[in-house]
Symmetry: C2
Subunit: 569 residues, 2 copies
Amino acid sequence: MINFQTSPDQYKHWKLSVDDAVARLSMDVQEDHTLADGYKLKLNSYDLGVDIELADAIQRIRFEHPEVRAVVVTSLKPRIFCAGANIYMLGTSSHAFKVNFCKFTNETRCAIEDDSHHSGRRYLAALNGTASGGGYELAIACDEIYLVDDGNSAVSLPEVPLLGVLPGTGGLTRLVDKRKVRRDRADVFSTLAEGLKGKRAKEWGLIDDTFATSKFEDAVDARVAQVCEGADSPSHLWERGQGRGLDAVRPSPFIPLPEGGEKSGIKLNPLEVETTSDSRNYKNVSLKLHRDKRYVDLTVHGPEANLPTSLDEIQKLGDSYWPLRAYRELDDALLYLRVNEPEIGLVCVRAEGNLDEVLAVDKTLAANRDSWLIREIILQMARTLRRLDLTAKSFFAIVEPGSCFAGNLLELLLASDRSYMLNNPDETVQIALSELNPGAFPMSNGLTRLESRFLAEPKKAYEAFAHDGAFDTEAAEEFGLVTFAPDDLDWDDEIRVAIEERTSLSPDALTGMEASLRFAGPETMDTKIYGRLTAWQNWIFQRPNAVGPNGALTNYGKPTQAQFDFKRT
Amino acid sequence: MINFQTSPDQYKHWKLSVDDAVARLSMDVQEDHTLADGYKLKLNSYDLGVDIELADAIQRIRFEHPEVRAVVVTSLKPRIFCAGANIYMLGTSSHAFKVNFCKFTNETRCAIEDDSHHSGRRYLAALNGTASGGGYELAIACDEIYLVDDGNSAVSLPEVPLLGVLPGTGGLTRLVDKRKVRRDRADVFSTLAEGLKGKRAKEWGLIDDTFATSKFEDAVDARVAQVCEGADSPSHLWERGQGRGLDAVRPSPFIPLPEGGEKSGIKLNPLEVETTSDSRNYKNVSLKLHRDKRYVDLTVHGPEANLPTSLDEIQKLGDSYWPLRAYRELDDALLYLRVNEPEIGLVCVRAEGNLDEVLAVDKTLAANRDSWLIREIILQMARTLRRLDLTAKSFFAIVEPGSCFAGNLLELLLASDRSYMLNNPDETVQIALSELNPGAFPMSNGLTRLESRFLAEPKKAYEAFAHDGAFDTEAAEEFGLVTFAPDDLDWDDEIRVAIEERTSLSPDALTGMEASLRFAGPETMDTKIYGRLTAWQNWIFQRPNAVGPNGALTNYGKPTQAQFDFKRT
């Protein structure tokens, strides 16, 4: 089983150090500490285990070190920044694992941009050596890129010429859409195995600047100092954070220091989880696996009554405050299902608890949205909901008596592929909107889930907000908030048949269908990465020219040469 | 060899009739007239041969029958409109052929929307019977959809539940992006093999209206009459023609009748082409195939001197007028290369002729852009250039003495993945812009090729337009219009090595890379269809769950059942 939880004292591959407003994230991959057998992580190449630590570090900087304004991403190895995803790991992994690996690393890079855009922290890639493939893709997820000019170090995307696959962790998309490199130059760069060094790399817009070895550290430090003083990023050529707009919480140009100007981050403690052979129970989230029927019940338990409403009290609660804990647990549960339960095709989502308590939490969050902690909590909830949108499993929301699909938890229903709400006049079954639904949790396409839902009739979203109080089943149906509203007599059969039908369909066709239907409307850099680029990479990851016995990925590092079928498709 | 040329007197599967302002395109597929062996085209199902006729008919309506305002797309078979792409044809086709087939059918449907958006003709799908799969996808490419209410006829997208593949001819994208069907309803509809009938189909926005059998013809006729009188389309829910904006030629709400109010279309005669084993020569376009080296030289010959400048003269020249003929030939050459020369991975594009004569043609086109004929010619050129953008081969533009990459032909260079321009002070080598480059030939992403090129510095496009006269090699390089400018000594070697390198790379990785790099910037319904949806479909078209021995596509219509590997990827 792959475990997504870690903490700095457990890191094998990264060093996280924080000195006042500057964090340093230094890559120093231990080549024998791999997640699987059969490969060594040479030259700061990475596998999923390395990226799980990176994701954790970024998350911790946001919650535990809110005073940080600049994050320097660099390497402790001489002459190499990062060689990208380990080729032998890719070559020996199943197709499904490769796809899941790329999705997670993409989410980690988007989390860097989310922090930069919404929390104003600047990420500086200090490339003290060559950054190739995924190494350069990590660099272009940062705001600024500086490359040492030592006559040898280069940036490169050698995937196409060397491996017959794509720079699929956002590389191609960020090249032309974020850094806006001219497409013919991008074409040349992406087919040049050795990449480009300092001067030309700068001229083509692949890096922001280059410094001689002797001056490199000082130059980066000077730039970091400027950034901490609020200097603009030189990345003026691209609109930053496109598609991750968060209407309810406006990004600040600088991070407001925690109240009182003191360091007052909160600690992210390990999540507690009890497991049996067919269940996984966190404090607020539980999974019940029906592996023989290929579905899982995922239940989120709503908040208890009388949660604190003041910032001081919330700060004291720290990571046990319901919204933070519940969504961290949900995030972990989604990652667990993706990687460890591949045959589970359907997630039946329930929210159990008191509608009013969820609404009370949302009210507190909205009222305190200008504080750094609440902003980070809201942003973390938004990232988790996007993780759900991007999970290659079907989601059905099930609304029964005792459920609490309100406000932030209503997003679970809106994110689902369809929803079933019991229509029984004798029992209270309700859903509700809160002040967070209009903008706090944007999807990757930049729209809220209600906007995505009502593309044809945008005013329906406003009508729903204008509605007074919670929606009973009839109102929910009338306002178009749920898909089906079976009555008591049909309920059990209808849910059972729906589950059976869904899990009988081709899992691949469902993945492609859901990836197309979930993201109507505008496209952003993120949806391009997860939709277009990922789909092409998935295609190539199956082609004999990459993964067949004579494919380039299979033959990398072997004395044999790749043999291509040259038919263009 | 597959031939893309046809004409109404040769049609096997469609009847095109024109009565004043109304054209009827009636599908009546002859089940034995297939393009390959091994299947029968039952129930108005189609193969590439059927779609080649449809594409031809749409093109002919635009040029030969400009007086047409409404096109009724219907079927001559009782109780069935169209059953979509023939499953047995798909099941027995190679992966590459399936991909090419879907691309062409997508282009045909986009051509319908291009006509509707730019030339104001309304397409009405009169579904006198069930429209399933590709049949419904053809209907949603039309402006309005009417379905007979006979208690039996339905619209459906059964690909996911029955075949384990996607409705990949734009179906999923148009469902949520064009008709903006609510995503949970789209999910239900796309997993419901039997589809939906009249009333519910209308309620969910899948069709515009439904009429009882006895009233169907009259109701459609009445609607056609309204449309001919200029009634608005009920498709008010979606922005029409998104991403196919044509700045230089504004679409009119109605088609301006040809001069004098008379029917004065021009005839599209068959293209003449001379072929040898390694060449294909049209009047203005020639292909020289180097199959052993996997590349082709494609040369477009510029216009002769003193082409007419008045509309009357051009109308008399008809389809022999250079822009129309040259681009029809180019279109045919591109289709030939795609389908008949799969191992050709690289197209070296040259334009031979006189720069000034190309500019003179563009001047004439721009001056007369408000006439129906010139507008149609410009739109046809734009479609051909988009066909090039979407061709899964690499393109290198080669600029040598005697070349004429100016105005419309400069688009060939800008559409190429890279360009090489000889730098020899002793010879005249020039390229030039015309008044058509700023907007007449938009890409699928809605931008011009210059806008796409200069995403990072939009003012560079304006600077190029402000430049006086043609660009010699140094100026072209300075303005960022070409990729490389080798001098005379290096020229031959550099081109040779570039060709060798390109054709040595993995063809699949190049296809995915080019599809990602060519379309930076905004996404539109078209780029979603060609990028996201197509890539997912290509992925699924390779998965064992679809095409393996136990896959759903392989087993369709057989007594055996599909067996899925249920791992979600």
